[in-house]
């Protein structure tokens, strides 16, 4: 006997599905179109290049759920619902193909394995997923979730759809005494419930449930773009259109463009359409917020709230802007005008982003650590938006925390944020006899010391260690000496693109002038901007962070490390080394080679917690909430390691400050990797 079942058993006029479906689709399309129009009040930006790479993103991040599954419980929840619904949807299509296209496919093993067994499992998976979701929302609320009516509506709707599906199947099995019932174990289970009912009742209830199931399913489709379920569409779009630039590269502003009326983002329309679409891809899962150092230390910044508040603006202001553009495009005076920039003519006073979507305090609280973006399953871009707003505050309004004045002027006049005399930049190397490019010629490797390594006595020790290491390995290196200027990382992340560009251009001119090809840095901030951002200005170098460089030297056997260090260490991943540049393993390889026992902190590698100094926060006071460096120091101390290892001058400063404040600095040393390697070299000699 050929396994199959009768399609549309007990249903008359199933063909009505199609007009009804059309209605649902029209409502759906209209809703989506409205959103689409709202996104496009934003600026244009090309996010459709490198299509192959974009398609690959879709496979990994959408189908593979690689990011979503990083958090186990919600990851599994989403995986179950997603793949369950995909299977059920496919099943529905198969039914349509068989009944109304005439493909005879619902037979035999395909019917038994897929249409019965797998779809039953799929339904069960969705059910399970929904239960997890309900548990996370209403039984034991998970961190970072906030409940809105929409959340409940969606969950209940899905739950009812799945249940009506199973009930309908159960009734059909019961009424038709389906011989293949065992292949639909869940449906069969429900069938037993109804076994006692009379055939007429079974048939009547079945029909009612079938139609309910249909209407609910179509209702769900129509409801999609009006709820957070729009993410079924926007999440893949957002992933497809995600930035493929290096993580560490902010966009370049063309400051010479005289036509630009504003720099950075003051208003909604200064952001790109992608920025605005982000807000409809966000499902308020809260992962960004759960990992945000500013939020977790009680500062008035939440990346989730930023996106949600922006969403509100898109919906409120965006509608007004669209209306205003419409009026402007068809003015009563008869004069025709293009849409862009005509809001003001139409009398619309657009609100400032700072103050509505982000308070000033929140704006300056961001350390640009990228934990939010690293976690976001749908690739919402929080940090670039924040930087755009900072850019506007600094470049147009000159409105920023007063203490930055000194840092900016210091970088401007003396090429370092402390404003110490530029002529003293190479003093640290005076007694070390380090070669200087200007007098000794271009080396194979330029050693880029950075401001901290040049001026800060604590970090000068790291520079001295680097010199010793490179000499021990026989590296041909030299420094720029007084010709080196601040790389500009802080300036750029504080929104001072003008200052950043002048520093970057000066440095690139110097480096290119000497024909420098390879650069070693000990500061992840220098590393990141030289490697990822200087190409925007014609600076193309092979830039190597000292942790990776040392790891290479050790692997190649070029460092005399016979002596092993003893003891335990915990290693703090710098944001700009780790999350921005994915350098997680080299520092750990160095630690291992030194013979130290690594004890990881609860939050490490891509989940590492910022030290508090990134994004120019190094130059700002931290007056709000708890101090970020203290929270991280406590986490480091919780490992009971006898040493805290870093690979970034800012992290070193912040964590050592933390141990001093905890009064444990005498016992728990905070050391840069280079200093540890130096110890091993010294004890080997």
């Amino acid at each position: 006997m050929n396994a199959t079942r009768q399609i549309y058993w007990n249903i008359q006029g199933h063909i009505a599905i199609y007009p009804l479906f059309l209605v649902a689709i029209v409502i759906f399309a209209y809703g989506f179109y409205l959103k689409y129009r709202l996104w496009h009040v934003g600026q244009p930006v090309d996010r459709n290049d490198r299509k192959g790479a974009r398609a690959k993103s879709l496979i990994g991040f959408v189908l593979g759920h690689t990011r979503i599954l990083r958090r186990r419980q919600p990851g599994i929840m989403h995986f179950l619902i997603f793949w369950g619904m995909v299977c059920l949807f496919l099943g529905t299509i198969v039914v349509a193909l068989q009944s109304d296209v005439g493909l005879q496919i619902m037979h035999g093993p395909f019917y038994l394995y897929f249409m019965s067994l797998i779809l039953n499992i799929a339904g069960l998976a969705v059910l399970l997923g929904l239960l997890i979701a309900l548990y996370r929302r209403y039984i034991k609320p998970a961190e970072g979730l906030d409940n809105q009516p929409d959340d409940a509506v969606i969950l209940i709707l899905l739950l009812v759809i799945i249940l009506t599906g199973f009930l309908t199947q159960g009734l059909r099995i019961a009424a038709t005494h389906d011989p293949w019932a065992a292949w639909s174990p869940v449906g069969n289970l429900f069938a037993r419930l109804f076994a006692g009912l009379g055939a007429a009742t079974q048939s009547e209830v079945h029909r009612a449930l079938w139609w309910s199931h249909l209407f609910l399913a179509l209702g769900l489709i129509a409801y999609l773009p009006y709820s957070k379920l729009i993410h079924i569409g926007t999440a893949p779009l957002n992933i497809y259109f995600r930035s493929l630039e290096p993580n560490g590269a902010l966009t370049r502003l063309d400051l010479e463009d005289e036509d630009l009326e504003t720099f950075g983002a003051a208003k909604l329309t200064d952001l790109t359409w992608k920025d605005l679409m982000d807000t409809d891809a966000c499902v308020r899962c809260g992962r960004c917020q759960n990992n945000c150092p500013a939020y977790l230390t009680g500062k008035p910044l939440s990346p989730k709230a930023l996106i949600q508040d922006l969403k509100l603006q898109v919906h409120q202001q965006g509608k007004l802007i669209l209306a205003a553009r419409k009026t402007a495009a068809h003015p009563t005076t008869g004069e025709h005008e293009t849409a862009a920039g005509s809001e003001l003519d139409a009398g619309l006073d657009e609100q400032n982003l700072v103050g509505t979507v982000l308070s000033e305090d929140a704006l300056w609280s961001c350390t640009t650590c990228r934990a939010c973006m690293e976690q976001c399953p749908v690739f919402v871009e929080h940090v670039p938006k924040t930087i755009e707003m900072r850019r506007n505050q600094v470049l147009m309004e000159s409105d920023f925390p007063a203490e930055l004045n000194g840092a900016f002027k210091g970088m401007e006049n003396n090429g370092n944020p402390w404003g110490l005399g530029w002529a003293k930049r190479a003093e640290w190397a005076d007694d070390l006899g380090v070669k200087v490019v200007a007098t000794d010629g271009a080396p194979e490797y330029l050693y880029w010391v950075g401001c901290a390594g040049s001026f800060d006595n604590r970090n000068r020790k790291v520079s001295a260690a680097m010199v010793q290491i490179m000499r021990a390995a026989g590296i041909d290196f030299a420094i720029l000496g007084t010709e080196e200027k601040c790389c500009g990382d802080s300036a750029r992340r504080l929104g001072n693109e003008y200052l950043y560009q002048s520093l970057a251009e000066a440095n690139i001119e110097t480096l290119n002038g000497y024909g420098i090809k390879k650069i070693i840095t000990q500061c992840p901030h220098c590393f990141n901007t030289l490697k990822n951002e200087y190409p925007q200005f014609g600076g193309n170098f092979e830039v190597i962070h000292h942790s990776a460089f040392i790891a290479q030297l050790i692997a190649a056997g070029r460092l005399p490390l016979q002596a092993k260090l003893n003891g335990t260490i915990t290693y703090h991943d710098s944001c700009y080394l780790g999350r921005y540049n994915a350098i997680y393993q080299p520092p750990r390889q160095v630690i291992e080679a030194l013979g130290l026992k690594l004890i990881e902190m609860p939050r490490s590698q891509r989940e590492s917690f910022c030290c508090g100094a990134g994004g120019g926060r190094m130059w700002l006071e931290e007056n709000l909430g708890e101090r970020i460096n203290m929270q991280r120091t406590e986490e480091a101390l919780s490992t009971n390691a006898s040493c805290i290892g870093t690979a970034c001058p800012f992290c070193l400063t912040m964590l050592e400050d933390g141990t001093k404040r905890k009064d444990v600095a005498e016992n728990i040393k905070t050391l840069d990797l280079a200093e540890l390697v130096q110890q091993a070299i010294q004890s080997a000699q």
């Binding site: 470049l395 004045n405 006049n413 005399g421």
Partner: protein, 260 residues
């Protein structure tokens, strides 16, 4: 209200001072900035303009390099500038500088004149007051606040042991001390606009000043030579028992360092 601010360009305060082979100050590679005291005055001038309307005119004596400093002031919000550039001015003393400045300033018909009470380079702290005397205008020296009233102003003048409020009628000259105003950081908008603002370049001839009446030959005070102070000795840890060490410290501060 027309606010004229006398501005000087100077070395960045962090600049390393070295001498050339001829024994002059070596300016190679030195970062030039708006003198911090001038900058307080510029900021105050702009604040007045924002409050009372009018314009801020920068008056400067200097070479073409000084135009960078002028643009900086314009980026902060100054409206236009007059720069007197003339090789004859090289080596002029404060007396000649004040005389030239006076001509340039008065040509602008100011309601109020501001400037630094001193500069961080020569620091002679006399040009602005000589200017007041030449223009026969009242002045208040070393001020940390100025309140403008109807045709007059009350300035807070620093004393050795406090402050006093001095009233003068306008036009008048005020010299800025730290605290008068916190200079703003120019926006890029300001920097862009500054490029297009009016900068009037004058020579001594344009001001009807005989170039032979200025310069080193006419200086009341002649420069004989420059020297660098003995390099700061690396720090000295005063050893010994604490009571003796502390006594030695006080002695060193008084007799060696001469700071107490």
């Amino acid at each position: 209200m027309r606010i004229v601010v006398c501005m000087k360009q100077t070395f960045d305060t962090e600049a390393k001072i070295a001498l050339t082979a001829d024994g002059l100050i070596d300016s190679t590679g030195v970062t030039l900035v708006v003198d911090p005291y001038s900058e307080f005055a510029v900021e105050k001038g702009i604040q007045f303009k924002e409050k009372f309307g009018g314009e801020v005119v920068i008056v400067c004596i200097g070479d073409t390099q000084a135009e960078t400093a002028i643009r900086q002031c314009m980026a902060m919000g100054a409206d236009r500038a007059v720069i007197v550039t003339d090789p004859a001015m090289d080596g002029s003393d404060q007396s000649a500088t004040a005389r030239v400045l006076a001509k340039a300033v008065i040509s602008q018909e100011p309601d109020i004149i501001l400037g630094g009470f001193k500069s961080v380079d020569s620091g002679s702290a006399q040009v602005m007051l000589r200017l007041a005397e030449i223009l026969n205008l009242p002045h208040v020296n070393v001020v940390t606040n100025i309140e403008i009233g109807e045709g007059k102003a009350i300035a807070t003048r620093e004393l050795d042991d406090g402050v006093e409020l001095v009233e003068v009628s306008l036009p008048a000259i005020f010299t800025a001390q730290q605290g008068l105003a916190e200079p703003r950081y120019p926006s890029v908008k300001g920097i862009m606009q500054a490029k297009k603002k009016e900068l009037k370049r004058l020579t001594l001839a344009d001001l009807d000043i005989d170039p032979t009446s200025v310069g080193p030959a006419n200086a009341k005070v002649k420069i004989h030579g420059l020297t660098l102070p003995a390099p700061r000795k690396g720090g000295r840890i005063i050893g010994g028992e604490i009571p003796e060490a502390t006594a030695d410290l006080v002695k060193a501060l008084r007799d060696e360092a001469k700071v107490i």
